[in-house]
Amino acid sequence: MLNIKDLYTAVENKKILEGLSLNVKAGEVHAIMGPNGSGKSTLANILAGKDGYQVTKGSVLYEDKNLLELSPEERARKGVFLAFQYPVEIPGVNNIYLLKAALNAIRKHKGEPELDAMEFMSLVKEKMKLVQMNEDLLTRSVNEGFSGGEKKRNEVFQMAILEPKLAILDETDSGLDIDALRIVAEGVNSLRNKERAFILVTHYQRLLNYIKPDYVHVLGKGKIIKSGGPELALELEEKGYDWIN
């Protein structure tokens, strides 16, 4: 599904990724771990199409097509979803309307009929339970006045509605208490299936107690320096990142 090959990127001439390669197949869950500044969030942002990163070398193929030449909105329509580390507040843009328009844009792209308000609301009701979202939050402006935990839940709720093919979760666990973490993790687990791939970007092993990855990769100095199974995360937890260097 996703094939990253020898990727080099820079922001304002500062090198961030230096030769990163990663292969993700449908149905797999990959955890990307690494210390602060190792380039984890850069990878998430580049995959979602954020401006400001220069790709100086390498390629990213998504479903065998060049992902990097697509706009963020085209990627979203083709099934790429980023759950943000810091979901931004957008006063004046209605949370639920945004989600409905997003879903219908994706369905339209897939050649499926758009959902009307009734159909959409019954879908919302069903998915809300998944992350125990408070109904009041739906009709507010996007993330406006949400607590940190509510913002993260809203990201997972959006993911549940939009049903992406490739979901990238950027430090979704950060800032969550243990109950919220469990709810978010259960939401993610319920979305796991053979067609969907996940990339979990995380600093701590904690999240991986709840979401069991197929692969764990350690990012250091802009590339993957070690890969392994779930046991690698436990080893990191015990020995710290210095152990690999």
């Binding site: 706009s71 909105e73 979203a76 209605n94 309307y97 959006q158």
Partner: protein, 441 residues
């Protein structure tokens, strides 16, 4: 320049001949003398530093309103507020339209009528108030208006009356045989503990090159409360200069919402005078400009007594080669202790060639006051744009959506559904991808 002044002079003589024995003739004459002496302001005048009125000063306009210009039901429907029952006063090219106005079924003692008939029938009270709260030396435009008063709205709400229906004053400017100027003059008197909502809506759709020079005077007696909405949607070639003067007594509350969307060259003046303890004014404003539009909002609040409050919040969205000006001054007079004054102006520049000059000013002569002011100028937020696009929203739609959201911060303060709806539609319709934005808001 000389022949321009001569044109005003000739029109003025004509008007004075029509109203020979008019009790107001003397007042007109002295106002015209002031205009003749001072002429149009130049940018050397500090109050007009950022707004050059030469385009107005260069033109010859006809200043005598003609009452034979017609409108139709379709146009009236499009300018009225959908689903809002109002007391309606309609003026077409400056002249009162009895046909489209509706001032029947008004509470017994409440007075809502056109100024031309008030000048004849309500002399005594007009003598006391007309042209009394305006400072004629402040602007030669106000003097020009006073000299040329022909029509406008006269509203008098007696004590303890709460008039539920909004009073909607519509000024329509339509294609005429030549360039014309109108000088609408409104007088609003609020009795003790009275309450009212008044809308001034200036509309023009034709390509006509006309000049609206309006003045509104309001007097709020003790405990009264007035919500005032001014919506300026003149034609793209129109000049619009408007002054709102308020004089407030104890515990009175004035709420001003000023929305400027149309016009080629626009200046909105608000002069607020908080004359007694407990008087409060709220001033919200929004302007949206494109192409070569120029919109200037100029406010002045005088805190003359202790425990008075003013809250100003103006926002603008500028595109193309347009230019905006915000110049807001708050003066706290020496005896005005324990007052609160808040002033903010936020701007969104959508293009490289748009420009905003923003100048919030505080002059404080008291020592125990709470005053804050600020101004911001910025572009659309990149993180918000990326978030929306990552949720499948097209870039252009995302830009329009965020622009709308910025404007809506002011619009939603209006607290009046029918007006909010109309303005939201008006703003959305002026943004790219307008049909798509409606899905998100």
């Amino acid at each position: 320049m000389k022949d321009i002044i001569e044109n005003y002079s000739a029109d003025f003589k004509q008007l004075q001949n029509i109203n020979k024995n008019d009790w107001f003739a003397k007042e007109r004459q002295s106002a015209f003398d002031i205009f003749q002496k001072t002429g149009f302001p130049t940018t050397r005048n500090e109050n007009w530093k950022y707004t050059d009125v030469k385009p107005i000063a260069r033109n010859i306009f006809s200043n005598i309103s003609e009452s034979n210009v017609r409108t139709d039901n379709g146009e009236i429907d499009s300018v009225f507020f959908k689903g809002l029952e109002c007391i309606n006063l309609v003026f077409i090219n400056g002249a009162y339209s009895e046909e489209y106005s509706d001032i029947k079924n008004i509470d017994g003692k409440v007075v809502v009528k056109n100024m031309a008939s008030a000048l004849v029938n309500d002399k005594e009270i007009l003598k006391k108030h007309l042209a009394k709260s305006t400072d004629k030396t402040l602007s030669s435009f106000t003097a020009l208006n006073t000299a040329f008063i022909q029509d406008g709205a006269y509203i008098n709400i007696p004590s303890n009356i709460n008039i539920e229906k909004p009073i909607n004053i519509t000024y329509i400017s339509k294609d005429n045989t030549g360039k014309f100027a109108t000088h609408p003059r409104n007088l609003i008197l609020m009795g003790e503990n009275s309450k009212a909502t008044i809308i001034e809506n200036y509309v023009g759709n034709d390509e006509t090159n006309y000049f609206t020079n309006s003045v509104t005077e309001t007097v709020l007696l003790q405990g009264s409360s007035l919500k005032h909405y001014k919506i300026q949607q003149e034609s793209a070639n129109a000049f619009h200069i408007a002054s709102l003067n308020t004089s407030q007594s104890k515990d009175s509350r004035f709420e001003s919402h000023s929305i400027s969307i149309g016009g080629a060259l626009v200046r909105n003046n608000i002069n607020a005078s908080l004359n007694a303890e407990g008087a409060e004014i709220i001033m919200n404003g929004f302007y949206m400009t494109d192409n070569t539009q120029h919109v200037d909002n100029h406010t002045r609040v005088d805190h003359l007594k202790p425990h008075t409050q003013s809250h100003q919040n103006y926002r603008g969205v500028l595109n193309g080669k347009s230019r905006g000006v915000f110049n807001g001054k708050v003066v706290v007079h020496p005896q005005a202790q324990k007052i609160e004054a808040y002033q903010n102006n936020a701007n969104l520049l959508l293009s490289d060639d748009s420009e905003i000059d923003t100048k919030p000013e505080l002059e404080i002569y008291a020592d125990d006051v709470k005053c804050t002011h600020g101004a911001t100028v910025g572009q659309l937020d990149d993180d918000m744009l990326f978030y929306l696009r990552s949720r499948a929203v097209d870039e252009q739609t995302a830009r329009s959506l965020l622009t709308y959201a910025f404007a809506d911060e002011i619009i939603k303060n209006i607290n009046f559904q029918a007006i909010e709806n109309k303005l939201e539609n008006l703003i959305i319709s002026r943004l790219p991808d307008s049909s798509l934005i409606r899905e998100y808001v």
